[in-house]
């Protein structure tokens, strides 16, 4: 597989343990108590969307559901709130996968922005219907910082696959 479908470079196949390791690391980042600091992205949604776009056959709604439940417990949110949002996010990202991979990373981010925004709007709707307080507009800022992080994330999460097939002892990585 290539970094994007237009690229000539062939990547190593993805290792499944690395996918789950990165998801768990995103979960830890999500549980960092940042209080009411505005603009903190939903790391797990971002990484989940990334792998759903890259590997639609391996990462999908089941993974989204499982990690969504863990976030629900960790945040003390309503059970199923993040699970519902991540299932729909994974579905959307899987469906977008064939199209998005033709674009360079910066333009991929523009495709991901509405998806992330949709998950947040969905969570707000679910909680407002249940009678919670509107969290304020800064709540949505996290989506935009997350979108900005797509390009560095694209580079970082593909790093293990950039390694050459034949191991060369003179190369540092």
């Amino acid at each position: 597989m290539q970094p994007t479908n237009r690229s000539r470079r062939i990547l190593q196949p993805v290792k499944l343990w690395f996918v789950y390791l990165s998801l768990c690391f995103a979960l830890v980042l999500d549980l960092v108590p940042t209080g009411r600091l505005p603009g903190v992205p939903d790391w797990l949604a971002l990484v989940l969307a990334f792998w759903c776009v890259r590997e639609p056959l391996r990462v999908g709604m089941g993974t989204g559901f499982l990690f969504g439940l863990l976030v629900d417990v960790g945040h003390g949110a309503a059970m199923g709130q993040h699970a519902l949002a991540y299932v729909l996010l994974a579905y959307g990202a899987n469906a977008l996968s064939r199209r998005v991979l033709w674009f360079p990373p910066a333009e991929q981010a523009l495709h991901i922005l509405p998806l992330l925004l949709f998950t947040q709007v969905l969570m707000v709707l679910v909680r407002l219907v249940a009678g919670a307080e509107f969290p304020g507009w800064w709540y949505f800022v996290g989506t935009f910082t997350g979108t900005l992080l797509w390009v560095p994330l694209h580079f970082l999460l593909l790093l293990p696959q950039y390694r050459p097939a034949d191991r060369d002892d003179n190369r540092p990585i």
């Binding site: 768990c24 549980l31 960092v32 209080g35 960790g74 519902l84 299932v87 579905y91 307080e133």
Partner: protein
Amino acid sequence: MRLMVFVAIALTMLVADLKFRYLEVMRQSLSVILYPVEMAAATPADLVRNASTYFATLAKVQKENAALRDERLRVGERLVQFEQMSRENTELRGLLGMAQRLEAHSVAAQVLYAARDPFSRKVILDRGASHGVGAGQAVVDATGVIGQVSRVYPIQSEVTLLTDKDQAIPVTVARNGLRGAVFGAGRGQLELRFLPANADVQPGDELLTSGLDGLYLPGLPVARVVRVERDSQAFARILCVPAGGVESSMRVLVLSRAEPLPPMPDPADALPIAPSGKTRDAKSATGDTASSEAKASE
């Protein structure tokens, strides 16, 4: 197809959790698995907090120390008075043959951080079930009630603040003993609801816990009335600000009654058409709770 299945499961869980609170067992067991992850995640926040206290200037600490000494003197004087009065109170109550005041059981705790759920106002304390914290207990700071323990984990607990939307606490107006209930109104404000438009409440009135719910100790400061609007409907719209530092205090006490209240009477037993034996039981039962409530509110 799989999407429909997952969405259906998630929606069912949402309804089960938000409407009926069925999923607490599942939440507790998942939280045990998540606990090491949460500890790992809390480390950077701890580092930042410790670093900020480390770099606090000496002058600031000295000033704070002086302020604390002043306050200790002032409080010490009140403590002497208080001890004298409490002795006197015990004697007087003994003379009148009344029950002694309720004993409070308290656990000192520190606020670790605000919970990350942006839809509610909750904080996490560093004390949990293993330290004797239980769900439903009142959380107070030096100036008043700030909230109520809503979930207990083994060594942490989650406190729902008074300003959380629709969080309720039964109160009395200190000036005239009028009873009511204060609800979180959102945006950091409180509202004293369901009082008639002609109720005797004025801006500046202090609101204290009434203790009628059997959870809070009576007489803790809750809020101060700031605005009363009597124009609109049958109920007055009474806005209050919390007495305690609800959004700001870091060191708190978790208070509970040292001994639980007698059990509530079964409402089914109190029906006048019940068989005669049952009615007598019900009468004595309601009489007991009424008197204990009276004691509690004294």
